[in-house]
């Protein structure tokens, strides 16, 4: 019975999509009440329950519904080709803000935004290469700052003074993680060495696992990753090793579920907070679009995930560094060049 219910839900959503695509009006209920502020959220192919970006974004939207009375509506993209039709559908409904979750939308957002100059769009995790249309707000995170704290946690936990970093595809974005992380290690434990490796992939789990294996074999005992799916290989590997001796640090969200006894902490991007705050500012007309908004600790958009494996004295240090970053005492490097001149 349950399965049948799912099937009919699936079929009806396909139907709604089909009607939406054919451009006919009136299929969607409740859209014409006007008055209220309306939010649309388009997911990438991961879907609403991806336990990652899409899901956290949707949490933010739900909070906006609860606390601000915003009308919210999601659309899941089944294929990459769905991005434009989905965004367009919401734009035709004249939603006040249409969120696109993640950098995959980088190419399509400017295109759709140009067609609908009176609708606001929001994209998370991309600044569109600096060319942001007037009706778009681009939200990015100060990942280097979050990674700095991950570096502090690693530096104060390592027993061998050897630490690893696994990056996905080398790009300015991932270099931001690397630079911040290395700066954090340097600040908290100058004796510790960081070994860096790039998988040049975001989904090759075997590569991630091999890199982690090689690093742990060579005496490294804490590894941080910013490598998407490749990072799953890190958790697969660390799980097979001694508890309390080998650690992995997750990224983007709390990844401790992948290896509960081996995950030191995770560098968490609070995408939900970001979506909520910006939707709120927009609703209260406090925000000018056409800009990049960078969020960090001050906005409560970054944090280290709570973890029983972080000792109280380590936590205290982390908190200290966090305050120093917030009040500007420490300027965390974003690039290799800035890292070279860091302290």
């Amino acid at each position: 019975m349950k399965k049948r219910a799912w099937l009919s839900l699936l079929l009806s959503s396909v139907l709604v999509l089909a009607v939406g695509c054919s451009g006919q009006k009136g299929a969607e209920g409740g859209g014409d009440k006007a008055a209220g502020f309306k939010l649309g959220l388009v997911t990438d192919t991961g879907g609403l329950n991806d336990q990652s970006f899409n899901q956290i974004s949707w949490e933010g939207a739900k909070r906006a519904q609860k606390e601000l009375g915003v009308d919210i509506q999601p659309l899941e993209s089944k294929r990459d080709d769905d991005y434009i039709p989905n965004l367009t559908k919401f734009a035709r409904e004249k939603r006040d803000i249409i969120w696109a979750t993640g950098f995959k939308f980088e190419k399509v957002i400017p295109e759709v935004a140009e067609q609908f100059p009176n609708v606001h769009f929001g994209i998370v995790d991309s600044n569109l290469g600096g060319k942001i249309p007037k009706n778009v707000v681009a939200v990015t995170f100060k990942e280097h700052e979050g990674s700095f704290l991950a570096g502090v946690a690693a530096a104060l936990t390592t027993k061998t003074n050897k630490i690893g970093f696994i990056g996905g595809i080398s790009s300015p974005l991932i270099k931001k993680f690397e630079s911040g992380f290395r700066a954090g290690v340097k600040a908290a434990n100058p004796k510790a060495q960081v070994t860096v490796a790039y998988a040049e992939s975001f989904n090759d789990v075997t590569k991630g696992r091999s890199l982690a294996k090689n690093m742990y074999n060579s005496g490294i005992d804490v590894i941080y990753h910013a490598a998407g799916g490749v990072g799953k290989g890190l958790f697969d590997e660390v799980k097979t090793r001694d508890k309390g001796k080998y650690w992995a640090i997750g990224v983007d969200m709390d990844q401790s579920g992948l290896a509960p006894d081996h995950t030191l902490t995770s560098m968490v991007k609070r995408v939900d907070t970001a979506i909520f705050n910006i939707t709120k500012d927009l609703k209260e007309k406090k925000l000018e679009t056409g800009k990049e908004v960078q969020l960090g600790f001050k906005e409560n958009a970054l944090d280290l995930a709570k973890s029983q494996h972080l000792k109280p004295d380590v936590m205290k240090k982390i908190e200290e560094y966090k305050q120093k970053i917030i009040n500007g005492e420490i300027k965390v490097p974003k690039t290799e060049a800035e890292l070279a001149s860091f302290k």
Binding site: D50, S170, A199, R209, G229, G233
Partner: protein, 310 residues
């Protein structure tokens, strides 16, 4: 130095295992004269089925069995299209790739309402053989490997014996070289090709299972990510011979291991990591072009069998 060697060997073995399994699958199909571009798809369906079955039954070995079944079921349309209906074997193989990816991603979405399966908890992990695993360098990589590695090596040996030491194998090779002569000698070309393609589905699916329930621990659309095609290259590189193919897959794993090692010992200061990551592919092309010599495919490869024609 010893550490570096150990690491390189371990990575080589880890990387090569799924490739060997899938390439052995390709070997059976292609030696019988049926091109199998569909290895990628067969691996995908194997990875998917293994992950889902393991999650639901709690037993990775039942997962492997289910993957084998799924591989056979998915190989069947390829066999029917290319053998019975004499369709273009490349086109049919490509269709298998699309079908497998589409179907598995759709089913994951349907079952878990998400882009990937949950984490597989009960996995097939490294199995260390007492005593032997203590040997320096060789021990940790060869005798502390996942069960799939042992299976892969066993399959290579068994394949060699089947292909070269049994009547079945001789007939299978004959069908791939000169089907009309084989038919004249009383061998059923159609039947043998069917069997070969189904074996290929089973083996490639084990290779896929290795990715989702041993090396990794979930299935998503990026789990196989082109390894079926690399396995196909290994098959050609290995000149359609069991040990040649084993060597080729291992060589590829070795090249990947070198590129990863290059990063860890700080070669990145001199060579960009993008270039290091390209190295395995470049090495394979070079080896293929220069050192291996002409790769001669089975004579009847890709040609549908028509009784009475010549």
């Amino acid at each position: 130095m010893i550490d570096i060697l150990t690491n390189i060997l371990q990575t080589t073995v880890l990387y090569a295992t799924p490739l060997i399994l899938a390439a052995m699958g390709g070997l059976f199909s292609e030696r019988s004269g049926v091109v199998n571009i569909g290895l990628e798809g067969l691996m995908t369906i194997g990875a998917f089925t293994a992950a889902v079955t393991t999650i639901n039954t709690g037993s990775p070995w039942i997962g492997v069995l289910a993957a084998i079944l799924a591989g056979i079921v998915l190989a069947l349309p390829h066999a029917i299209a290319s053998i019975t209906f004499k369709a273009d074997q490349v086109v049919s193989g490509v269709a298998i790739n699309f079908l497998a990816l589409g179907l598995s991603v759709y089913l994951v979405k349907y079952l878990y309402n998400s882009g990937q399966t949950p984490t597989v908890q009960k996995k097939i992990e490294a199995l260390s053989i007492p005593g032997l695993s203590e040997i320096p360098v060789l021990g940790p990589s060869l005798f502390k490997a996942t069960a799939f590695t042992y299976i892969a090596i066993a399959i290579v040996i068994i394949s060699y014996i089947i292909l070269y030491k049994t009547t079945f194998g001789m007939r299978l090779r004959a069908v791939g070289e000169h089907p009309h002569a084989a038919e004249t000698a009383g061998v059923s070309v159609i039947q043998l090709r069917y069997i070969a393609v189904l074996i290929s589905g089973a083996l490639a699916a084990i290779g896929g299972a290795c990715l989702s329930i041993s090396i990794g621990s979930e299935f998503n659309q990026g789990t196989v990510a082109g390894q079926g095609f690399i396995a196909l290259a290994a098959l050609i590189f290995g000149k359609w011979k069991p040990f040649g193919t084993l060597g080729a897959a291992t060589f590829f794993g070795f090249a990947v291991a070198l590129s990863l090692m290059g990063q860890l010992i700080g070669l990145v200061k001199y060579v960009p990591s993008e270039v290091l990551s390209m190295a395995p592919y470049i090495l394979t092309i070079l080896a293929l072009a220069g050192f291996v010599g002409r790769a001669v495919s089975p004579a009847a490869l890709g040609k549908p069998y028509e009784k009475g024609s010549r």
